[in-house]
């Protein structure tokens, strides 16, 4: 860990330094700026193990009828999943346990997600996430930049356009995965909910592909976090990024902004 925990003399005197400090310091001095409110951090980190448990238990359920594949007609390019995947992660022959975990932890996943959604709406935090009209073009530039094909990044707020699009996509997928999940879970009691997906099997197919979608997001998300570096990761734990204002331009430079 690179955080410095030795220079805390000011705080040891029992003097509570909770007072909000306004930004009246000389512009060259670094300050820490809040980027992730406490609620977002908690909800994010609680969601992480819940999502893992849901995918893990869900794949145990899927194993019992693992019919989906990529391909054309009867030609299968990739069948979900090869036996090695099931064996590696202990997913085979555990349908009942998979269901028990899925239908217990599912509540926590839904509750956590609902609190998150309510928080986004109540605090208008969603404005940082929803793509604006420039998003498509800017996201392309972000991707080109990340692939080292373009030097400059487009302007951004809290999140760049590619992040806004991916985070919004994740929220949409999360809603779809929950609704389709309930359609599979209680197709009679929640009828006609399954019809939204073309029926019971349609809901199962959608639920599966949303899982793949969230899994792909997860992989890209982790890679981007690694790429962005420690300061960015730390901001999801502490809430803050260190900002150095250069006097000449007054341009803030954050230690890591993306993922």
């Amino acid at each position: 860990m690179s955080i410095d925990t030795t220079t805390d003399d000011a705080g040891t005197n029992g003097a509570s330094a909770e007072a909000v400090v306004t930004d009246e310091r000389p512009p060259s001095e670094p300050v820490a700026r809040l980027v992730h409110p406490r609620a977002i951090r908690w909800l994010h980190w609680i969601n992480f193990p819940l999502l893992i448990i849901m995918i893990w238990s869900g794949l145990r359920i899927y194993w019992a009828e693992d019919v989906y594949a990529l391909g054309i007609g009867s030609w299968q390019w990739f069948a979900f999943f090869p036996d090695a995947v099931y064996e590696t992660f202990g997913l085979d022959r555990r349908l009942a346990r998979g269901m028990a975990f899925h239908f217990a932890f599912g509540w926590l996943f839904v509750i956590n997600g609902a609190i998150y959604a309510a928080y986004l709406l109540a605090t208008k935090e969603w404005r940082h996430i929803l793509p604006d009209r420039h998003a498509a073009r800017e996201a392309k530039d972000v991707v080109l930049h990340d692939l080292h094909l373009k030097k400059e990044l487009p302007p951004q707020g809290k999140y760049n356009a590619a992040q806004r699009i991916s985070y919004t996509a994740v929220l949409v997928m999360a809603v779809i995965i929950v609704v389709s999940g309930f359609a599979i879970y209680k197709p009679t009691q929640l009828y006609p909910l399954p019809l939204l997906f073309g029926g019971y099997q349609g809901a199962r197919l959608v639920h599966f592909w949303m899982t793949i979608g969230l899994g792909l997001f997860f992989v890209i998300h982790v890679l981007q976090v690694i790429r962005s570096g420690w300061g960015n990761f730390r901001s999801m734990v502490t809430g803050y990024v260190i900002e150095r204002r250069t006097p000449a331009t007054d341009q803030p430079e954050s230690e890591g902004t993306a993922s």
Partner: protein
């Protein structure tokens, strides 16, 4: 690239960030340490909680808290909407159903000699019936989506009698029993039903698939059928129908599955 140098847009985007509060770096360090300690504690709690869950005594093959959650779920759903019915389909949609489970129907059976024992909640024999009793009950056809707990489903055309019409013969004698259990003649496969589910108009004592009598693989001469529970509850080749005050044994609930298996 003209939009990229649009100063108002850059200012607007930057303003979104500049609204956020700042703290001095010394304060940041203090809070950082606290956040990381909280995170470490959270990891520890998650790890201990996960191990605690796995270490709980099993009830029916799964840790007790999970079993209790399945029971809680049933309470929730039975209060939300108990009496709803699954959609029924036109005959043209019906397809032959695959043969999945053979537990309890592997023995030879003499269909002509088959009878079903009907027992009361104290184990008393209420009746010993041959097929004619079930054929004499009001007959109906039901084209429904049969859903296997494994994940497949198919639209099946069942023909037979409502369980509720059958139950009317015994309603006075058994009173308000909360459960009814079913067993294959060899006793190897057995399921328990709560009475409200059994009395649902789509819970059928099926004699036919399509217009033909059931074949042996699908539970001849009499089986359960419903679109409102998984197929594991739809016992084939009924040998015993037993009213019960306590929740009857259930083959799959003893093997980690939900006792209700309701949809």
């Amino acid at each position: 690239m003209s939009e990229q140098s649009d100063p108002t847009r850059e200012q607007q985007l930057r303003a979104q960030l500049d609204d956020a509060p700042t703290i001095p770096v010394s304060e940041f360090r203090r809070r950082s340490r606290r956040s990381f300690l909280t995170g470490a504690a959270g990891l520890g709690v998650a790890y201990l909680g996960w191990n605690w869950l796995q270490d709980q005594p099993n009830v029916g093959g799964i840790p007790r808290p999970l079993r209790e959650t399945l029971e809680f779920n049933e309470t929730v759903w039975s209060n939300v909407s108990q009496a709803r019915s699954a959609p029924e389909h036109p005959v043209s949609k019906a397809t032959p159903i695959q043969v999945n489970g053979r537990i309890g129907i592997r023995n030879e059976i003499d269909l002509a000699a088959w009878t079903v024992r009907v027992e009361g909640p104290d184990g008393e024999l209420l009746d010993e019936l041959d097929l004619s009793t079930f054929e004499a009950l009001p007959q109906r056809d039901m084209i429904i989506e049969h859903k296997c707990i494994e994940g497949w489903s198919s639209i099946v055309h069942w023909g037979g009698a409502r369980f509720s019409d059958f139950h009317a013969r015994y309603a006075d004698r058994v009173g308000d029993v909360p459960y009814v259990g079913f067993e294959t003649p060899d006793g190897l496969y057995y399921v328990g039903w709560d009475m409200p589910s059994a009395m649902h108009p789509q819970t059928m004592l099926a004699l036919r698939q399509g217009t033909e009598p059931l074949d042996l693989d699908h539970g001849a001469p009499l089986r359960l059928a419903t679109p409102n529970k998984y197929g594991i509850k739809c016992l084939k080749r009924i040998g015993v129908i037993r009213y019960a005050r306590e929740r009857p044994a259930d083959y799959w609930a003893e093997r980690s599955y939900d006792w209700y298996a309701g949809l």
